[in-house]
């Protein structure tokens, strides 16, 4: 996917803002600093434990704005609906969208609906775009320094396991609900207590490991992660052990990775833990001068290995 974006698109549309490849584009409109982002949602199944495609589409865009230090203001909603989709299903999704927008404190201010022939899309696809007002300037990869800490706001991989177990009809002993949630409140709390937050991302597709790799790519620093400190819930571990997956590559939809100066780590953690969505926030690693451009994992067993970008999807194994 990353190669595809770089080789097909970035070159052709090349401009300063796009080249930064941030979760949102941040630029000035008059004197105001604005964040602008878009994302499309094609999840199968459309309802899963802990969420559905509607709430996901709102939270995803809210989160992309929030991690850029912006207060989400307005969202657009584009729906592509497969002919014959049950009206009740649509009602349920619309209600979920409305509820998610309310919970995130944003308005849906414009939209578009298209119905396509049966088979041309899978039930429903949603696109949302959002704009936000930047209230915390200076979040940037360039500000990251060696010695900074890497914090994750909660346990990783729940969204992927929730969707997977629903899609494949798999029953695990511990039911896992998606972590899908809006992060604007949590991030506001973080940015209130520290002016040394360097950079934030919400790890979605490809999980924690992929996002960390995106952060170090082509940079003159590396990241070292302590496996034992990464929060992983029992249900996610169980599912991953069973299927041969690595939780560090499992998608999240309501988690933030925060990179900040070490001296502020304690304040930030305290602020996060006061919020329900950050109760088990933890420092999981640090920025290093060594192994530039790479993520290194100190394994639970005391070994070391590289934690690379995931190539392709994880496939369940035979035995």
């Amino acid at each position: 996917m990353h190669d595809l974006i770089d080789s097909v698109f970035i070159g052709k549309f090349d401009n300063k803002i796009l080249r930064r490849k941030d979760d949102s584009a941040v630029f000035n409109v008059g004197k105001k600093r604005i964040a602008f982002t878009t994302d499309s949602y094609v999840v199968n199944p459309i309802f899963f434990p802990g969420g559905d495609i509607g709430s996901l589409a709102i939270y995803g865009t809210v989160n992309d704005l929030s991690v850029c230090g912006a207060r989400p203001l307005a969202i657009s909603l584009g729906l592509i609906i497969e002919e014959g989709l049950d009206r009740n299903v649509l009602e349920k999704i619309a209600a979920s969208i409305a509820d998610a927008a309310k919970r995130s404190g944003v308005d849906i201010v414009t939209g578009d609906t298209k119905v396509v022939e049966k088979g041309s899309c899978d039930k429903i696809f949603i696109n949302t775009s959002g704009i936000g007002e930047v209230y915390y300037g200076g979040l940037s990869l360039e500000r990251i320094k060696s010695g900074d800490v890497v914090i994750v706001s909660g346990s990783v991989g729940k969204h992927a396991v929730s969707v997977l177990s629903k899609r494949e009809g798999m029953e695990f002993r511990t039911k896992t609900k998606s972590d899908s949630a809006p992060l604007n409140g949590l991030i506001f709390n973080i940015l209130k207590v520290s002016n040394k937050v360097r950079f934030m991302r919400d790890p979605t597709r490809g999980g924690l490991a992929t996002t960390l790799n995106e952060i170090v790519e082509g940079r003159n620093f590396g990241i070292s992660v302590d496996e034992k400190d990464v929060p992983v819930s029992g249900g996610v571990r169980e599912a991953c052990e069973m299927l041969g997956f690595d939780p560090l590559y499992m998608a999240c939809e309501g988690r933030a990775i925060v990179i900040a100066a070490k001296e502020d780590a304690k304040n930030i953690l305290n602020a996060m833990r006061r919020n329900k969505k950050g109760r088990i926030a933890a420092v999981i690693g640090q920025i290093t001068k060594e192994h530039k451009g790479r993520v290194i994992l100190n394994t639970r067993a005391g070994g070391k290995r590289s934690l690379d970008m995931l190539a392709g999807e994880q496939l369940p194994r035979i035995c």
């Binding site: 798999m170 571990r237 394994t299 067993a301 290995r305 590289s306 190539a311 194994r317 035979i318 035995c319």
Partner: protein, 361 residues
């Protein structure tokens, strides 16, 4: 998680690592083959090599079922997938494996019916749900997986399900290990034997490795502490014999019922191993009494003649003669997204493990 956390406990692992350091004779090299793909994967995943002394050389063995499956088998599966009346049911790892001309993944994009399943129960359910189509299950795997496939055939026969069959590519472990023990190019001092295969076949089928070929053998579990303890046992073994490290799972005699169901449905045959060639008595074929469930008999797939990429050295990698980095294709043309050889495809393949986890600075 019980039975997992205890075996990943840092204190225990540190202790085992230091015991290994004390037990090794610094003047000699220990070539130890971890036979199973899950061993290989966990050695990398937990960074265990970085805990061992440099004179312990871990060699990844032939125990990744996908990796040892020859192109010819995949070509047959792809040929079957091309028929409108057939749904292929397969475990996930087979999905991206390239055959001579295509892969199941590419065939699926073309619109052919290929479904990923998690068990033979899923495959049978698929057959019940689609009575007008044939569900062909890709039977790949060793003694760990084979009993479940045997049971699916027995169940299909009992229930009178007529649209289910298995494309049999199953292989058995001991004969392959014999081939490795006899190969002069491969210098192995000891084997970490596959825990779950042994849960079925027991310890007896390996005794010849110790007695005739003087190999130190330890039946090994899959967690980091299991693997390190087994390495310690290999290092300490004075007279070659078969020991069991994985005692929480393995009774010496294995699982009688599982073996019975294998014997009921399958019989021994020669099998083609990717990179190792044909090995006598190392494979299984479906017995004539179950021929209605044998996709080879039922559909007689006739794909074009199989071909291999000549530059790919998967064969030597599987045998442990060469390392992935010795391959010209490794990491350049061959990577997990577009794998050339099977060792790159399976998450348990040696090349994939090196690609994903190797600690290069």
């Amino acid at each position: 998680m019980k039975y997992v956390d205890e075996f990943r406990d840092r204190k225990i692992i540190d202790k085992l690592a230091s015991e290994i350091r004390e037990a090794v004779d610094p003047g000699r090299q220990y070539n130890i083959m971890e036979v199973c793909g899950t061993h290989t994967m966990n050695v990398f995943r937990f960074g265990l090599r970085s805990l061992l002394t440099p004179n312990i050389n871990l060699i990844s063995g032939p125990g990744c079922p996908v990796c040892v499956t020859p192109n010819e088998y995949l070509d047959k599966a792809i040929w079957l997938a091309g028929r409108n009346d057939i749904i292929i049911a397969t475990f996930g790892d087979m999905f991206r494996v390239p055959g001579s001309y295509s892969s199941l993944e590419k065939e699926k994009v073309k619109g052919n019916a290929i479904k990923m399943v998690y068990s033979t129960t899923d495959a049978l359910a698929l057959a019940r749900k689609n009575p007008r189509q044939e569900v062909v299950f890709l039977g790949i795997g060793f003694e760990t997986t084979i009993p479940t496939v045997a049971q699916s055939i027995i169940a299909a026969k009992r229930e009178g399900i007529k649209n289910y069959s298995v494309l049999c590519g199953h292989k058995t472990m001991p004969a392959a290990l014999k081939a490795i023990a006899e190969d002069k190019k491969i210098r192995v001092d000891g084997f970490l034997l596959p825990g779950h295969v042994s849960a079925v076949i027991g310890a007896a089928p390996y005794v010849f490795l110790a007695k005739k070929y003087c190999k130190r053998c330890v039946i090994t579990g899959f967690e980091p502490a299991d693997i390190l303890q087994a390495i310690l046992m290999v290092v300490r073994q004075k007279t070659p014999r078969v020991e069991i490290q994985y005692t929480r799972i393995i009774a010496g005699s294995g699982n009688f019922l599982a073996r019975k169901s294998i014997e009921r449905v399958f019989k021994k045959s020669a099998a083609e191993w990717r990179g190792m060639g044909k090995i006598k008595d190392s494979g299984l074929e479906i017995r004539p009494e179950f021929k209605d469930y044998d996709a080879d008999v039922k559909f007689k797939p006739k794909p074009k003649k199989a071909r291999e990429n000549k530059a790919c050295i998967c064969g030597d990698v599987i045998k442990g003669v060469k390392k992935p980095a010795d391959c010209k294709l490794f990491g350049k043309i061959c990577n997990p997204i577009s794998p050339v050889g099977s060792c790159m495809v399976s998450s348990e393949g040696t090349c994939s493990a090196y690609y994903k986890y190797s600690y290069k600075l």
